[in-house]
Subunit: 354 residues, 3 copies
Amino acid sequence: MTRPISKPEPPPNFSLREIAMIVGGEVIGDEQVRIRGINSLELAERGEISFLTNSRFKESLAATSATAVILQQQTPLFRGPQVIVSNPRISHARLAAVFAPDVPRFPGVSDRSFCHESCLLGKNVSVYPNVYIEEGAVIGEETVLFPGVYIGGGVRIGNRAVIYPNVAILRDCRIGNDVIIHAGTVIGSDGFGFVRDGAQSIKIPQLGIVQIDDRVEIGANNCIDRAAFGRTWIRSGVKTDNLVQIAHNVTIGEDTVIVAQVGISGSVRVGRQVVLGGQVGIADHLEVGDGVMIASQSGVAKSIAPGQVVSGTPTMPHRLWLRVSGLLTRLPEYNTRLRSLEKRVKELEETDEE
Amino acid sequence: MTRPISKPEPPPNFSLREIAMIVGGEVIGDEQVRIRGINSLELAERGEISFLTNSRFKESLAATSATAVILQQQTPLFRGPQVIVSNPRISHARLAAVFAPDVPRFPGVSDRSFCHESCLLGKNVSVYPNVYIEEGAVIGEETVLFPGVYIGGGVRIGNRAVIYPNVAILRDCRIGNDVIIHAGTVIGSDGFGFVRDGAQSIKIPQLGIVQIDDRVEIGANNCIDRAAFGRTWIRSGVKTDNLVQIAHNVTIGEDTVIVAQVGISGSVRVGRQVVLGGQVGIADHLEVGDGVMIASQSGVAKSIAPGQVVSGTPTMPHRLWLRVSGLLTRLPEYNTRLRSLEKRVKELEETDEE
Amino acid sequence: MTRPISKPEPPPNFSLREIAMIVGGEVIGDEQVRIRGINSLELAERGEISFLTNSRFKESLAATSATAVILQQQTPLFRGPQVIVSNPRISHARLAAVFAPDVPRFPGVSDRSFCHESCLLGKNVSVYPNVYIEEGAVIGEETVLFPGVYIGGGVRIGNRAVIYPNVAILRDCRIGNDVIIHAGTVIGSDGFGFVRDGAQSIKIPQLGIVQIDDRVEIGANNCIDRAAFGRTWIRSGVKTDNLVQIAHNVTIGEDTVIVAQVGISGSVRVGRQVVLGGQVGIADHLEVGDGVMIASQSGVAKSIAPGQVVSGTPTMPHRLWLRVSGLLTRLPEYNTRLRSLEKRVKELEETDEE
């Protein structure tokens, strides 16, 4: 089965003056140069704009082939036109959005998708071939479901969501507006609940759901389990990287950022604007306060008060961890020094006894 | 393509007397109240039953809106009818099973699935659209294959198995009865076997299979690799959480429980009724004895005798780990104390020399 | 929908003389015995050949039922014919390839696949049902796309690639020749790039691609993110195990080997012929030199010079880590010894003062 070739739109192309309006900046130099893309200082070619977000990379300004650059302060290191902004990182995000290709959209609902007749599909949904939508699901306006997506019975997805290939969202889960879920992720698999009966593990059926609020972005191959009762709750603005595990009944507060391969055990409550570094593990039923930062690979075995910056296994204040981890390599030396001291003290004691 | 709307069954609804019979308990209070669901103490509403499994949550008994509760001993904290049982956790599991929605079943074999004509399908199998079943596969009675499932050539799956969306089970693997495999899991990908030939890695084709015995439950996005020769073997009753990695030729003993993000290297033998905490890593060719418990994030570099409880990297007895990890933060202090001691001993020595 | 049963080919079957020619070895004993398979010493049956790669397993030679064995030096422990080779591991790899079943190939392009009419498909491609290929993709000769594979717009895949079920390769990514990608892997999901604007995280659209060079093998359920600009680059001969995370703009050098559950943060540059043990984490923007070996679970927080062998969190030379980790369990003892020394020194000081 084939689809006709779409007429390619001409690539976007702006004057530097227009660029400056988009990012709210001020042009120094020729406002009329045309900009057809954005790139890093190293990779930029003629016709592209670049940006300086970190003074570490200042040397690249002299070497770049970019036609214009965005930065916080005018610099003599770059000879072309400059756009001065208060936050070049935000300008980068905005301009990249302008030049990024649109998310491709299958036109309408493919007749090679499978959609239960009880489903409600909003205006302008894009449902690719090989999508399966179970009984009673509701899909909001403008939402895109890529091939291989499975939507379970009673699932509700908001408007303008993008659900990438082979994502499974199981029965009754709730997904908000403007949510992005990357490929291979599983939302609403059963929480890991068993009770021992002699040697055997008896399954505890998981009766709750997963609720994902607005503007959440979930990485690829994540697993977010449904609650035993009630909901596993990912609140608005949360961003997760790839291969993240979120167990049943966890709550993640607004605008928290979770780096790849983090594992969060059952019933943990993570606050707002928390940052969890890669491969962090958090034991069950703990609380992680608002604004906490936990360094990569840390093992969290007790709750953490708001605002703390912690590292290590078990976690300790980050500054202490830096000292402790630096001293670890000196353990062999300590051993030697202790032995030497013991010998010397013994000699002193013997001298004293004489 | 659409499917007709199914007539919803009325939700289950029992008298408390019937509930007591299901869980083998004794009612104190009104046996005739109707129960239409089970929930946690915090979330329960009128008409629902709840349960107390941990005396930590005793306060919730007074506040709950549940119509009845299940517990081990009668309590004055809850004023409604009570069901007394010997193990409220097991009662929870049983009642949740009663009230849980059935696994949805596509009626029969979808003509939008792809099933090689040599396959044998048992009675009452449910094969959703977008399932692919390769040559010579055998699927047992009552088994459900959700959309996006791939069944390789010669695979055998037992009765009453539930294979969730986008699971891949590759050629010749064996899956037992009453097995559940959650979404996105890969069974039978090639073991990671290479041999260096100069700079290059030459692939060692993996000729074995994965065998999963009865009553196993595998979490979402797991990877269980086929053996180099023979089988990677997950024995009956094993439960794995999400994102678990099990390498080629591993054997996992009966009723072992493996928490999320564990990684088990090649040819490891894990015993029966072992518990592996989240993010544990086990090096290749080791043995983990029956009944061992390994705490989260531990790094196992040597074999562990049966019955041990261990933690840390490298692993040590759990009680020792608690002491060691508590002392880690005192390394800076030790450093200071050592230096102070060295100075004082030097002074003593100089005094003595005088 | 069904496919006809294929006529099974007779299993391969060789004289020991032919086997010896395949592996470049010398036969001692009967060259005419027939060999129909390869297996481990423990599992081999009559008619199969086995091999000894590690003198640890020498005892198995006496007990094996194999018809012949491959080894480096003639041994009296095995009474049947022997094939003497310089590297039995390489011989194992070669013979396993001879006896391994071929990758199954759907004949041609399934009319139940979805292929945009602008795509270019090479000779003898095998496109299974439920594959989706987006606009402008190019698939090389002999390449196999298993069910559930998603190929994004503009993706280019080389010749003889094998893409297992439910792999997603997103727009514009480049895959070389002879690449194998195991099931469930996601190539080209968005890099994890956000910029804080007050409390909220603003998405930085990721404009780059993933480039995977020739002879790379990627394990199951990996995630390899597209670059912010330019490319995330997996160079030729790299092998990754399962559940590996590779962030945006990472470069992995030729013939590097990455064990399961490794996480590599943004912009890291890993050299050639590096070995990363299981569950290793590497912080962003670091360099790992050629030939480095990093032990399992290590946490890499600073760059590592070529040729180093390191372990631990933070990483240190492997030999030092062995000593340090051995001494960790003695921290409680150090504590006691320090306290005892302090008491004894105090007594000495008091004696001196008298």
